[in-house]
Amino acid sequence: MQLRSRHLLGLEGVTNDEIGLILDTAVSFKKVLERPIPKVPTLRGKTVVNLFFEPSTRTRFSFELAEKRLSADSVNFSASTSSVLKGETLKDTVKNIEAMRIDFVVMRHSAAGSCYFVAQHVNAAVINAGDGAHEHPTQGLLDMMTLREKMTKLEGLKVVIVGDIEHSRVARSNIFGLKTMGAQVGICGPATLIPREVEQWGVTVFPHIEDALAEADVLNVLRIQLERQKGGLFPSLREYRSLYGITRERLDRLAKEITIMHPGPINRGVEIDSDVADGDYSVILNQVTNGVAVRMAVLYLLAGGRPKLKE
């Protein structure tokens, strides 16, 4: 089995089998990462450009590491966000990519759908590393890998995503991926950060965090951005924390333990408290480790690799 698309632009429309394939492949690559020499020659001679139009630390590092572990040649391109909305930048960049015969484009951009634009204009395989509020498919995949590792299977799992759903590409990729894999997904946050007609995704909306906690096996806590408060979407960080913050106190009231995820970077003391983020039920650092394995799997599969992976 192989992936149907030559790009990974999002998890919407990616099938259960395909996600399963990526996650299985990632598990194999995770074993590679545990070896004394954690490197394979799989993508030797292939060139990857990491095209980051928006600042990113962990996603870019994670992709770079994945590329290096696969022996690909990678080059980095970072552009300031200020020039992003001028249009020419992206089109010219696309033309340059074509001229340089690059095999993979890993792309982060502040505009939703921008990777579609690039994918339509280049021969390279495009991997979306986050496009505006649209999707961040490798984050969705690494979250699912982490959950599958911890909870054995995704089917029937109750995952609640807490925070700014409206502006979150992580939320969208998680929702599309988890729903496809048979998980039950809830979302929770201030109504101003819940997008319109979200029920059509087949998710449950929890206006109150207590109701979400009562339901959830897993919480995926999103970073709350200060600019949303400035944009008038909620009154203050203080009130956000008091209504939606994931605190030890809130969790201690429950008769169960909830697995805690966070895509990072964390605003400690705002959306989540340090003792929760660093606590026993947090898998936040596992997410980071799995991120490299998942990205290796995606690169490998898009390169046309077969899932059988031998030393």
Partner: protein
């Protein structure tokens, strides 16, 4: 479309349109007949002996001759963005699309907000087959603060006023504009958008924007403005025309207002009638326009409004844009699509073929009512009248090919669409243009 061979525009002194079906709902005419045009006027409707040596004879068998169509909402981009469109190229596009007249919106650079600017448009379009009727700005520079010299603009040929693209945000300004415009009998054409609600939005707000992570423009951004304008129109009695209606709520508001006798008219565009927000899913920037493509429910409501007379007019909102303004990220792309060369084909395919409107109804919405709203002289097909005609071919099967557009711009979401029905030719100002 250039894929057909075309003739014209050519000057004609004597022209016989032979064997066409002549249809003019305002004169209650619908019959098969020859039509003789001499020196720009309809000389005779009826059988005529005519040979090529007497002038030009055009075989109109299986064609329908209707009053010349007018597109009351186009952007010709001149002056300022002649790379996107000029008055001349826009008029060629109009002619090819079956229109004998267009109204050009004033959001050019500089803005059409003085008599001099209106005269510039009139001079640049002099002698064309297509009549260009300028719409002047409501406020100086379309800045929403100071009324333009409407009387002077009307004297130079303006037929309406609009701050299209920059909706009049202050209610007091619109009130004064409607009161003042009433004197001249020309409408204030409103682009309805409460910008505090649409701010930064790029598509309809709803399930599709939610899924794509694109910023939404809620339907209430349009409807609040429509409701406000209707109240002001009611209060002042001023002539209000609502441009490019896109939502079910707006249709409802306008229908109710008309019932109450408020002086309001409305238009919608073919793209709102045949496309929905679903078209945005692949992030094609040619689906980006203001107002945005709405939901299926809205689309259906527009057809109902069109049928029951709530919506008076079909206009294209022809908005040419340079390639680089569209070949970019969805967020960064310009709003608007070209429409002059697809409007008639789309309406014939989706209104006539699907039997939602009859041909007389369509002619009313594309020829008769716009002229009435704009206070232009009636255009009747009768002996003695000026020959201002569109000849349509209901059975013409064709495919939209944007590389063949006469417009300088190519930004259409309809490229490759198979359509049925097209303009065969147009006659106006002693000139003939046709395809064969």
């Amino acid at each position: 479309m250039k894929d057909n061979r075309e003739i014209g525009p050519i000057r004609v002194e004597r022209l016989l349109l032979r064997g066409g079906r002549i249809l003019d709902p305002s004169s209650n005419v619908d019959r098969l007949s020859d039509l003789l045009i001499v020196d720009g006027k309809i000389r005779k409707i009826g059988g005529e002996k005519f040979t090529q040596s007497d002038g030009i004879l055009l075989d109109c068998k299986d064609k329908i001759i209707v009053p010349g169509l007018i597109d009351m909402h186009v952007h010709l981009r001149e002056p300022g963005r002649e790379d996107e469109e000029t008055i001349a190229s826009g008029c060629r596009a109009a002619m090819a699309g079956g229109f004998t007249a267009v109204c050009c919106m004033p959001n050019t650079h500089p803005v059409i907000d003085t008599r001099g600017q209106v005269e510039f448009i009139k001079e640049r379009s002099e002698g064309f087959l297509v009549d260009v009727h300028p719409i002047a700005a409501v406020t100086v520079g379309q800045k929403g603060t100071e009324l333009t010299e409407m009387g002077d603009e009307v004297a130079a040929g303006a037929v309406g006023f609009s701050d299209d693209g920059y909706p009049v945000q202050k209610a007091a300004i619109l009130r004064r504009a409607l009161e003042y415009a009433k004197t001249f009998g020309y409408p204030i054409i409103e682009h309805c958008e409460e910008t505090s609600l649409s701010e930064n939005g790029v598509m309809n707000e709803g399930f599709v924007s939610t899924t794509l992570g694109l910023r939404g423009i809620p339907s209430i951004s349009e409807e609040i403005h429509v409701a406000r304008d209707l109240l002001i129109a009611d209060y002042t009695g001023g002539p209000l025309h609502i441009a490019h209606v896109s939502t079910k709520g707006s249709v409802h508001l306008i229908r109710e207002a008309k019932k109450r006798g408020i002086s309001v008219t409305a238009e919608t565009c073919p793209h709102y009638l045949v496309l929905t927000e679903e078209a945005v899913r692949e992030f094609d920037t040619n689906t980006k326009m203001k107002p945005p493509l709405r939901t299926e429910e809205d689309r259906k409501a527009l057809w109902v409004g069109l049928k029951d007379g709530t919506i008076d007019v079909i206009a294209s909102d022809h908005a040419p844009h340079a390639i680089e303004e569209k070949e970019t990220e969805y967020d960064a792309a310009a709003f608007g699509i070209v429409g002059l060369e697809t409007a008639l084909g789309l309406m014939m395919t989706y209104a006539l073929r699907k039997k939602v409107l009859t041909l007389p109804e369509l002619v009313k919405k594309m020829a008769i009512l716009p002229r009435k709203i704009l206070n232009l002289p009636e255009n009747r097909i009768q002996e003695g009248s000026l020959a201002n005609l569109t000849i349509v071919d209901l059975n013409k099967k064709w495919t939209v090919d944007r590389t063949q557009f006469h417009s300088k711009s190519r930004n259409t979401p309809f490229d490759g669409w198979p359509l049925e029905g097209a303009s065969f030719g147009v006659v106006n100002n002693n000139q003939l243009y046709y395809k064969f």
